[in-house]
Amino acid sequence: MSTETLIWLIPLPPLLAFALISLFTNRSRSISHWTAIVAAGVSWGLSMIVFARAFAMDNLGESPFGSSINWFPVGETYFKIGVHVDPLSAITLFFVAWTIFMIIIYSVGYHNFGQPEGDHDRPGLPPHGADVKDEKGHTHRVPSVEPMYSRFFAFIALFAFGMYALVVTDNLLTLYMAWEIMGLCSYLLIGFWYGKKSARDAAVKAFMVTRVGDMFMLLGMAALYSLTGTLNYTRILSNDAVIQQLVTTQSPVLGLSWAGLVGLLIFMGTVGKSAQFPLHVWLPDAMEGPTPVSAMIHAATMVSAGVYLSIRFFPLIAAGWTPGAPLTPPMIVVTSIGTFTALFAASIAMAQNDIKRVLAYSTISQLGYMVAAIGIGAYVAAAFHLLTHAFFKALLFLGSGSVIHGMEHGSMHTGEEIDTQDMRNMGGLRKKMPVTFWTFLIGGLALSGFPFITAGFWSKDAIHAGAYNGHFTPVFVVLVLAAFLTAFYSMRQITMTFLGKPRSKSAEHAHETKWTMTLPLVILAVFAISIGWVGIEEDFPLIGGVIPNVIKEFLGSMLKVHGTEIFQLTPIFVSIVLALSGLTLGWLLYRRLKADVPDPMQKILGPVYKAMQNKYGFDEFYDIFFVKTSNWISETFTYRWIDLRVIDGILHGIAALGLGIGRVFRNFFDVPVINGAGDALGEGTRGLGSILRKLQTGRVQQYMVIALAIILILGAIFYSVIGL
């Protein structure tokens, strides 16, 4: 089958799975998860075929796979939508397919398929165990299966559809549609356990905050459409004439060119979706959802979509820039936001105690890296880091889910009621959960950029090299500092969770999770190690050139202008030193951590630690400034004052006026005149009758008198008139 047909087919199996699961297979857990797994598998297969074919093409950047159909008529022509696979899409398709497939397989075990149903489990709340009697008559608590099992797979399938559609589409409109579908699914899945108020609030928060970014993105799209008459990638981004025209015309905003303004507006979509400062507040709260959802949203798909969009629109953001020239204003904005976020989030991650929150802030920080890379023009490095990050972050999230499951086993076994996600209650899990430990360690080392054997090293180093070679010193310094902090908190997390001695009874009784959960971990760990090796610089001492720098050749063919890459050892050296020192420091500080002892960093950092732990108060600030204000506006101002008093007042006034007119008509016209006429007729007849009745006396002689009188009168009349 032609590649274009295959590309069209890629997003369809998950959509079909969503429809089937929601409509038909809801009651049966195994049919639902098999539907989702088969759909993900089919899409994975199609994606691999498409990727292989794309990879085999020589100049995919110049002539990407594409096909489009007419959708709706616009003026003289049609608005066309279609598919488009160029190197960036191909790489994204690769990691999206793998991570989605692994996450769906993982979810089967995560939601405890095969376990008994819980005693007090209700749909809407997380399952909390079933009491099981064994042969000896002892009851003990085991984890119970998720009550809303099929619903989860339906939503995950829809989410997968959204992401696949976003990656293969060829224009901004369908990208925006897929973007919003993913926003919807993130709302549905973060609020999956809708019985918990924190989950509901987190879902609303995620949707609202990303919506702010989406609004700006929509403005950018509208501007782009009105300026160029199209939203298609090839017609805008590969078309030099269009870019040139956009760069040279001034927009009315802040002296930016139209290309810069549109680029910035579209970048705001990324700021929302990829949780950059200042719209980062939704991502940590999104940890309320089940862990596969966190992996899906924050590693594999949704946040990657934001960075994908910015990389895709790099020509627009960097319009008018050539390597070596000073950065254009939009690029400065992008870089600043990216670097600031990288450091900011890394500092918050250092002080978090919930295992998933550390990973959440870590995601924000790594996305900051990618955004900074886009801003300084190293978009190949950004795409490379996107690829590696998807794998190791998905690995880390799924690993944390496995840890939480192990802790819950232990908690149910011992009956201890503790927060199974708090790292201060963990420790020593290395012996109890070896597979999880080793895979998590690989993921953590990849995140820190452990030299040579992890993927994260190569991609992070590419970004550092880009910053260094472009002589962007402040960016380089901040990113390198963030790398140090990243290594530190990664090792802190690993040490607190797996090394040392168990700090609670649940940690002592934890045990390894099922193969449905550990198999995806192992596969992702393999990728986390090896995927970096496709991006080794050619000039790298010893091992450079052994494997061709696939990423640079494949992705770099997308843009026509490249800088000359001078290979320098300094950034690599700095990266290695800082990664190793951060790892060591993290290990040293936390390896002997005991239960109920305050965090060693508190002594070192003091009040700064408190600020980091409270996320620098941004949530509270947004709450007062935006949430409470808009609540006031909606509840008091528009509802009570305008809606109830003014608008309803007008309506009540009109109603009262109508009633008054009616009353007037009734009392002054209807009753006297019409009723009066009717009554008068009746009364009059009766009165006349009562008068005339007196004539009928029943006395014959009087009748005769009357008859005689009338005869005489008639006779007189006849006589006088006719002349008798």
């Binding site: 009745r693 009928q696 006396t697 029943g698 006395r699 014959v700 002689q701 008198v705 005689l708």
Partner: protein, 102 residues
């Protein structure tokens, strides 16, 4: 000869007296007598005209005979009615027979 007009005046006067009697007498039998008087007045009128104008033909005479017969029959019936009414209502005063009142 006695002028025709005297007969006619006479019959008119009788008729008026009879009419007055019908209209004003209390006793029903008296009303019947007044009706007889009216009929007889009419007979006088008819005979006067016959005698003075059409004496040769018998039509007038026959007419009068029929009127007589009708008057007699009618009186019989009337008396029968009055007796029957008396039996029912114990009165022959015309004003008291006001069942058709209202």
């Amino acid at each position: 000869m006695i002028p025709l007009s005297w007969f006619l005046i006479f019959s008119a006067a009788l008729f008026a007296i009879g009419l007055f009697g019908v209209m004003s007498r209390k006793n029903t039998i008296t009303i019947l007598m007044s009706i007889e008087l009216m009929l007889n007045a009419v007979n006088v009128n008819l005979l006067a005209f016959w005698s003075y104008l059409y004496g040769a033909q018998l039509d007038g005479l026959v007419f009068v005979a029929i009127v007589f017969a009708a008057a007699a029959a009618e009186t019989a019936v009337g008396l029968a009615l009055i007796i029957s009414a008396y039996r029912r209502y114990q009165t022959v005063v015309a004003d008291d027979l006001d069942l058709m009142k209202g």
